[in-house]
Each structure stands twice: as C-alpha cells, then as structure tokens.
Amino acid sequence: MANVKVGISLFSLGTPYLKGQLDLEGVIKTAAEIGAEGYEIVATQMIPSYPFVSDEFVSFVNECKKKYGIGPICYSANMDRGLLKDRDLTMDEMLARAITDVVSANKLGCTVMREQYLLSPAGLERLVPYAEAYNVRVGIEIHNPETPITPAILDYVDVIEKTGSKYIGFVPDFGCFATKPNKPYWDRALAGGATVEQLERCAQLRYDDVPMEEAMKIMEAEIEKCPALIAALNSMYGFVQFRKNCKKELEGLKRIMPYCFEMHGKCHYVDENLHEASIPYEEIIPVIAQSGYDGFIVTEYEDEGGYDAIEQTRRHVAMVKKLLNQSI
C-alpha cells in the first residue's frame, strides 16, 4: 500500500516571494495553511547562505517548524554546468558541486535531494558513496520532454540497477505526462492575436508527431500573419509538450516506482473544479496510490500564466488530496 504525503515546493510561491509580498517565513506559513505536510526548497532561490546552509538558517528553519508544524523534506539542487564563462564544468567539478548540495541537504535535515539531468548517469554513480554517507537520497528529476521511458532516463535506470544503491533514483515531474496543450502559452497566443482554429491546427501537428521543422513550415503562412504562433508552437515541442495519451509513460512510471523518492506535482492551471488543464491527474494519481510508494507528492505550481500563486497552489493540493482519497 502506498503511503503518500502531500507537500508543497516553495517554488510555487516564488512570485509573491520575489515581489517582496511574502518573506521566507511568510512563504512557509502559507504552505502550512494550505495543507502541506512538508516542503521542498529550491536552494538557489530561497536559501540565503547558498550554496551553503548556515547555522543561522538551520535555526530559522527549526523555528518555523515549531511555529507552523512543517519542515523541509527535499533540497532541490541545480546543476549549473554552464557556470564558467568559457567552458562547461568537468565531471569532477560537477561532482564537487553535487557533494556540496548533498552536504547542504543533510544539514537542513532533508533525506531527499532533487538533482538535474546535467549530472550524467556516470556522475550520479560517483555520488553514491556521499549520498549514502550523508543519508540523502538523490533523485534525478524526470522533466518534460523526458519521461520514464525515454532513453536518457533509461540510462539512469541502468546505473541504479547496476549499483543496487537505495540512494540514487528519480524525482518524476508530472508535467512529463501532459496530454493537452499548456494553457498559459495557449492563452498568451490568443492574447497575441492567434485564433483558436490556428492553435488547434498547431496542436494537431503535435498530436500527429509531425517533426517541428515540418510543423513550422506547414504553419509558415499563418505565422507570418500572426507571429504569436511561433512561441505557442515552440512550446508544444519544448518543455510543455504533450501527446495523445500517456499510457506507455505511466507503465514506465510503474516500473521505476521503487526508485522514486519524491514526485513533483507540476501544475500550470487548476480550475475551480480542481482539474488541471493539461496534465491528466485523474490517471496519474491512481497509479501512485496503487503502488508501494512511500513519500511525498509535492505541488509545483509554475507561474507562467500570472494566476494567483497561492490560490493555484491551494487548488492543486486540494486536487491531489481529493484524487488520493478517491483512489484508496
């Protein structure tokens, strides 16, 4: 039986935080009020002593836990391979950065860390002894356009199974199961003068797996009339791409479920009836509820559409809880 807890990535409340409407304590307090049982923190966004965790910050986090009842459950790392001006970081240098993040995650009390795919399977393998020593399970995020069955992800599966380590695995992001066009990009194109008919033609090209260059050519005349279509079409082939259905991808998720340390409940728009516009939560949540998964689903509202971040996060948490209850 699955034991699923519901959390919030504080990234979801990034807009009010960056605008100064909420400070970090306000963000944590809001997450608790919305119903999070724990939170993920994007280190480069909200840890004031990044890339380190200061004693002062640990005290602050503990103080907040006392006041609001929730603490950090996942340290979200970035792999800044392009940090240097003239060249990419070497694997040794990336490993050093990842070890710094593991040390920081441990100091913050997190036993899960999100890592990004620029740390290669071989790099992840080299991180194993440090992840084990510091008791931090490091999960590579599976982010659209990757899915649990794309070759790049299967290469990590090989390393996880070869090492047999319980300390390396995945953090799937539900955005990779999208079956409909992304609403904020769609709406932006409409606002830019595109018609529903034009956008539906673009979406159909994506559904039909027409290669991007060809799709651009087919839509060339329309794009000339309405340049806003370019961004919409680009997005359909980029980080918010979608397919007719996600059955194969969900089968892939079942296979890697034993290696999943946390789930990113991505959302771009949840309506008042608690339905996400492009990601089929009604299909995804039962798969998790019926697995042996023991961990968090963490809401990750990505503010592309300028909706109220707190309200969207609240709706998403309510949606996940509702679907979990229905799936028992």
């Binding site: 605008k19 480069t44 966004q45 990044y50 391979r81 392009g82 001006k85």
Partner: protein, 143 residues
C-alpha cells in the same frame, strides 16, 4: 543579443536608490541598486554582459564597481566570480567612481545585463538559455 528569456518580478533598477557616495568627506561618485530579473539567484560568473549608461552616455567599465555580499568587484572581474552568489531577492549596489558625482536633479540610468541559465543548455559548445535582466529608470539623485 538575439532571443533572451525575460522573467520579471520587480524593477531591475531599484526606485529611489540613486545617491552620491562619499569618501574622505568628499563626493567620490554615485551609486544605485539593481535586482536580478530571474526566479533564482546566480553566480556572478553567469553574467555575460554588463554595462551602465547614465543620461545616455556609456560609463567606462573600469569605473563601475559591483558590490555584493560585503565585497566589491570591478566589472572586468565578474566572469571570474564563480563562487560569489547573487541572491534573487538581494539588491546589488552599483558604484561609479566619478569624483564630484552627478549634478543634482533627475538622471536616467540604463543597465544592460544579460546572464545565462547555467543549467539550461540550448545547444552544444557551451550554449545556454540567455536571460534578459536589463532595466532603466529616471531618478532624482539624493544625498
């Protein structure tokens, strides 16, 4: 600079931040604050292009001091600052060495600032998503 991603939450040039700064009791120049136009902080080495114009004139790079984390760097040094992290919510103070400073009244500040998203490659050979963090503002200089 071709396409660059823009993620803007606050003004890059911070309102009411333009003022004279003093050394040995004399006006040594002027300073103002800037914020990153991005959702997360950045190491200074992720800055690809940085420049300042005041009232339409380019400020020589060697006169620009980039102040952050209690330290002060020359514009030419930024790309070596790969362990100096600029927090997303912390303003950096830009000082321009200009003895006597600007005349009182209103001045136009234009900041050119392009960075790269160092975790977001867009092609081979060290190509990363460019981020536009430019900003402009008219401000009265204060003491």
């Amino acid at each position: 600079m071709g396409f660059a991603m823009r993620m803007n939450f606050v003004d890059v040039v911070v309102s009411d931040s333009l003022k004279h700064y003093y050394v040995d009791g004399k006006k040594m120049g002027y300073q103002f604050d800037i914020r990153l136009s991005y959702y997360r902080g950045q190491f200074l080495s992720a800055i690809d292009q940085f420049g300042v114009k005041v009232d339409g004139f380019d400020v020589p790079a060697e006169r620009i001091r980039f102040c952050i984390n209690g330290k002060e760097f020359g514009a030419a040094e930024l790309d070596k600052c790969y362990s100096e992290f600029w927090q997303a919510i912390e303003p950096a103070t830009i000082k321009v060495i200009y003895p006597g400073s600007l005349p009182s009244g209103e001045h136009r500040i234009d900041v050119t600032l392009f960075l790269r998203a160092p975790y977001m490659p867009i092609g081979p050979d060290h190509q990363y998503m460019p981020i536009d963090s430019c900003g402009s503002k008219m401000m009265n200089i204060i003491d």
